[in-house]
C-alpha cells in the first residue's frame, strides 16, 4: 500500500515536471523542473529496487548534465523567444509525430506478447546487491563493450579539445629561463624624487622597460591589438 502511494506520488510529480519543462516560459525554470523530474525518476527506480540506477541518475543527470544545462542557459545569450517563433507553424507536425509514436506504443503494449520461448531474465539472489551484480556483468561478460564505451568517451574528449583549444601565440606564458635570468637592475630603478611631487607630476606609474610584453613565441608586432592608452605613460 505504502509502495503504491509513493509510486503514484513520484509518478504524478514526474509527469507534471515533464510538462513544465516544455511549457515553462523561463528557461532557468525549465531546467530546474528537469532536475526535479530526475529526482522523481530516481525515486521510481528506488521503488523498483534498482538502487544503483537511482544513484547514477542523481549523480550523472542531476549532478552533471542538468547543471551543465543550467550553465549553458545562464551563460549563453540565447534568445529563447526567437527560438519559440516557429512553434505554431511546427506544432501540427510535432503533434502528428507524437500521436503516431503514442499509437505505436499503445499498439505494442496492448498486444504485449513475447516471442514464444523467451526465458524470463533471472534475478540475482538477495545476497547480491544490484550494484555488485552490474559490476560483475560489465567487468566480466561485457568487458569488451565496457572498454569500447571508454574509447567512445576518449574520442569525445579528443573532439572537445580538437575543436576548441586555440593555441594563441600572443598568450603570456611563464618563461622560466627568462625569469631565472632576471636581475634586480632590470626591474628596479632607484629614482630621486623631489619633495612633494606626486605620481601624476612624474608622469604616472613606470612600467617595466622590457619583458612586460614577452609572449610564448616571438610574434609579429603588427598582429597585436593596440595597447591601451594608459600603458603608454611609462614608455
Amino acid at each position: 500500500m505504502i509502495t503504491q502511494i509513493t509510486f503514484y506520488l513520484f509518478a504524478t510529480i514526474l509527469v507534471l515536471c515533464a510538462g513544465m519543462v516544455v511549457s515553462a516560459r523561463n528557461p532557468v525554470h525549465a531546467v530546474l523542473f528537469l532536475i526535479l523530474g530526475f529526482f522523481n525518476a530516481a525515486g521510481l527506480f528506488l521503488i523498483a529496487g534498482a538502487e544503483f540506477l537511482a544513484m547514477i541518475l542523481v549523480i550523472v543527470y542531476v549532478g552533471a548534465v542538468a547543471v551543465l544545462f543550467l550553465f549553458v542557459v545562464m551563460m549563453l545569450d540565447v534568445n529563447f523567444n526567437q527560438l519559440r517563433e516557429g512553434l505554431q507553424r511546427y506544432a501540427p507536425v510535432g503533434a502528428a509525430i507524437g500521436v503516431a509514436l503514442l499509437a505505436e506504443l499503445i499498439f505494442t503494449v496492448g498486444r504485449l506478447k513475447l516471442v514464444p520461448g523467451v526465458q524470463e531474465p533471472t534475478l540475482p539472489g538477495p545476497q547480491i546487491s544490484n550494484t555488485e551484480a552490474l559490476g560483475r556483468l560489465i567487468y566480466t561478460d561485457y568487458v569488451l563493450l565496457f572498454q569500447a564505451c571508454g574509447l567512445v568517451l576518449l574520442v569525445a574528449m579528443i573532439g572537445a579539445i580538437v575543436l576548441t583549444l586555440r593555441d594563441r601565440p600572443s598568450a603570456r606564458r611563464q618563461n622560466i629561463s627568462l625569469q631565472h635570468a632576471r636581475l634586480p637592475a632590470d626591474t628596479m630603478e632607484m629614482m630621486q624624487l623631489e619633495v612633494g611631487a606626486g605620481t601624476d607630476a612624474l608622469g604616472g606609474f613606470i612600467r617595466p622597460r622590457d619583458g612586460y610584453g614577452a609572449t610564448a613565441e616571438p610574434i609579429d608586432a603588427r598582429a597585436l591589438p593596440a595597447r591601451r592608452s594608459d600603458e603608454k605613460l611609462g614608455a
Binding site: C149, A156, I158
Partner: protein, 478 residues
C-alpha cells in the same frame, strides 16, 4: 559458464586501440611545430599490422556472445582497414596545405576504424550500437576538423544532430527488439525467431527502426538529406574517408543482422528494403544531374551506389550478399581514387571543387584526366572496369530471386547515371583548357594511380575477390 571467453578473438581490435592510445601520447609530447608525418606514418603502420592480425585471426564467438570473428567479419575489416589506411595517406598532403595537419587527425580515423571493426564483428545488438557510436562520433569531429571554415563547422554540426537522431531511432528499435525477444544476441534472436509462431508486431516495428537507423548511416534515400552538405562542407580528406570505410561497415552490419537474426522474418522486411533501394537508386541518379560541384556530385553518386548495393540485401540470398560484398569492394577503391583526384585539384594553393574547374584537364594533366575518366566510367558501370562486375552480380542475384523490378530499375538508373558521369569526362576531354593545377604531391598521385589500376584491371583480381566474398557470404547462411 563453461563456454571459453576467447580473449584472443578481438586481438586485432585491441592492438589497434592500443596503437591509437600510443600515437595519441606521442602526438601530445612531440614538438609543437612538428608535421603530422610521424603520427600519420605510425597510424598507417598500425593499420598494416592490424590487417596482418586480421588475416591470421581465428574464427569463433567470444566475449560471452558479444563478439564474433568469421570470414564475413574479416572481409569487411580488411576493406575498412584498406580504406582507412589509404585515406590517412591521402590526408597528409591535403591537411598540410589546408593548415589542419594536427596529429589528432590520424588518431581519430584510427578510433573510427576500431568502431568499424567492432561493427563488423558484432554478435550482439549492444556491440552494434557501441561500435556504431565510436565510429560516428569520430567522424562528426573529423567533419568539423577545419574549424575556422564555416562550411566545415556546419557540416560537423549537421551530421552530429542528424546522426544523433538516427542513433536514437536505432536505440529505440534495439530496445523494442530486446523487449519482445528477450535477448540481444544474434544467435538467441535467430533461435527465438525461427519458430513458426506469429511474430509480435512490436518486434517488427523494432526491426524497422533498426533498419532506419542503419539506412541513415548509409545515406539511403529518404534519409539522405545530410549527405551532400556534409560531403561538400567537410575537408576533402575527411570526405574521402567517410565515403569509404564507414559505408562498408554499415553495410556489413546491415547484411549481418538482416540475413542473420532477422533472416527468418525476410517476408516482413523485404518490401521495405526493396522500396528504400528503389528510392535510393532513383534519387541518386536524378538529383546528381544538376550538380555543379564535384563533391556534391560524388555525394549523390555515393547515394546511388548505396541503392545498388542494397539490392543484395533486399534479395537476402547468398548470391545477393556476395554481390553486395563485391560491389562494396569495388566501390571502396573507386571512391578513394576519385577523392585522390579531387584533392589534386588545386590552383594557386586553393582547393577547387567545381566541375568546370576540370575543363580541358586532358591537355594540362593527361594522366590525371585518364585516371578520373576510368573512375567515372567504372562508377557508371561500363564493362571492362570494376564497377561493372559489382553491378552485374547484384542485378544477377535479383533476377535469380525473381525480383525483376529491382533489376530493371537498377539498369535504367545506371543509364541515367552514365549521363552525369559522362558529363565530367566531356568537360575534361572536350572543353577549352583552364590553367594548369598546382604540382600535386607524390602520395596523392600514387594512390590515385594505384586505385586507377585496380579499377581498370579488376578482371584480374575478380576471382580471388569473388571467392573471398563467397566464403564471407556463406558464413551468414550456415
Amino acid at each position: 559458464m563453461t563456454v571459453p571467453f576467447n580473449w584472443s578473438l578481438a586481438l586485432p581490435e585491441i592492438v589497434l586501440s592500443v596503437c591509437g592510445l600510443l600515437i595519441l601520447v606521442i602526438g601530445v609530447f612531440q614538438r609543437k611545430n612538428a608535421s603530422g608525418l610521424l603520427c600519420t606514418g605510425l597510424a598507417v603502420a598500425a593499420f598494416v599490422a592490424t590487417a596482418v592480425l586480421v588475416l591470421g585471426a581465428p574464427s569463433g564467438v567470444g566475449y560471452r556472445g558479444t563478439f564474433v570473428s568469421d570470414d564475413f567479419a574479416r572481409f569487411a575489416k580488411l576493406l575498412a582497414l584498406t580504406g582507412a589506411a589509404l585515406s590517412v595517406i591521402l590526408s597528409l598532403d591535403y591537411n598540410g596545405r589546408q593548415k589542419v595537419d594536427r596529429f589528432e587527425f590520424p588518431v581519430l580515423i584510427l578510433f573510427s576504424t576500431v568502431g568499424t571493426m567492432l561493427m563488423a564483428s558484432s554478435e550482439n545488438l549492444m556491440t552494434l550500437y557501441v561500435g556504431l557510436e565510436l565510429q560516428s562520433l569520430a567522424i562528426y569531429i573529423l567533419c568539423a576538423f577545419a574549424r575556422d571554415e564555416v562550411t566545415s563547422s556546419e557540416a560537423g554540426l549537421k551530421y552530429f544532430v542528424l546522426g544523433s537522431l538516427a542513433s536514437g531511432l536505432l536505440l529505440y528499435g534495439i530496445s523494442l527488439v530486446y523487449g519482445f525477444a528477450g535477448t540481444m544476441e544474434y544467435g538467441g534472436l535467430r533461435a527465438a525467431l525461427s519458430d513458426n509462431a506469429p511474430v509480435p508486431a512490436g518486434l517488427v516495428i523494432g526491426i524497422v527502426f533498426v533498419f532506419v537507423g542503419l539506412a541513415f548511416k548509409l545515406s539511403a534515400a529518404p534519409f539522405h538529406m545530410w549527405t551532400p552538405d556534409v560531403y561538400q562542407g567537410a575537408p576533402t580528406s575527411v570526405t574521402a574517408f567517410m565515403a569509404g570505410a564507414p559505408k562498408v561497415a554499415a553495410f556489413a552490419l546491415l547484411l549481418r543482422i538482416m540475413a542473420g537474426p532477422f533472416g527468418h522474418l525476410a517476408p516482413q522486411w523485404q518490401m521495405l528494403v526493396e522500396l528504400v533501394a528503389i528510392c535510393t537508386m532513383i534519387l541518386g541518379a536524378l538529383a546528381a544531374i544538376p550538380q555543379t560541384n564535384i563533391k556534391r556530385l560524388m555525394a549523390y553518386s555515393s547515394i546511388g551506389h548505396m541503392g545498388y548495393a542494397m539490392i543484395g540485401v533486399a534479395v537476402g540470398t547468398e548470391a545477393g550478399v556476395r554481390g553486395t560484398l563485391v560491389y562494396l569492394a569495388t566501390y571502396l577503391f573507386m571512391t578513394v581514387g576519385v577523392f585522390a583526384c579531387i584533392m589534386a585539384m588545386r590552383r594557386n594553393g586553393r582547393p577547387l571543387d567545381r566541375i568546370s574547374d576540370l575543363s580541358g584537364l586532358s591537355r594540362t594533366h593527361p594522366l590525371l584526366a585518364l585516371t578520373m575518366g576510368i573512375f567515372m566510367f567504372s562508377m557508371a558501370g561500363v564493362p571492362p572496369f570494376s564497377g561493372f562486375f559489382g553491378k552485374l552480380m547484384v542485378f544477377a542475384a535479383a533476377v535469380q530471386s525473381g525480383l525483376w523490378t529491382l533489376a530493371v530499375i537498377g539498369v535504367v538508373t545506371s543509364m541515367i547515371g552514365l549521363y552525369y558521369y559522362w558529363r565530367v569526362v566531356k568537360v575534361m576531354y572536350f572543353d577549352a583548357p583552364e590553367p594548369a593545377f598546382d604540382r600535386g604531391a607524390r602520395p596523392v598521385g600514387a594512390v590515385a594511380g594505384a586505385m586507377g589500376l585496380v579499377t581498370a584491371l579488376f578482371l584480374l583480381v575478380l576471382g580471388p575477390v569473388t571467392g573471398a566474398a563467397q566464403a564471407a557470404a556463406a558464413v551468414l547462411f550456415r
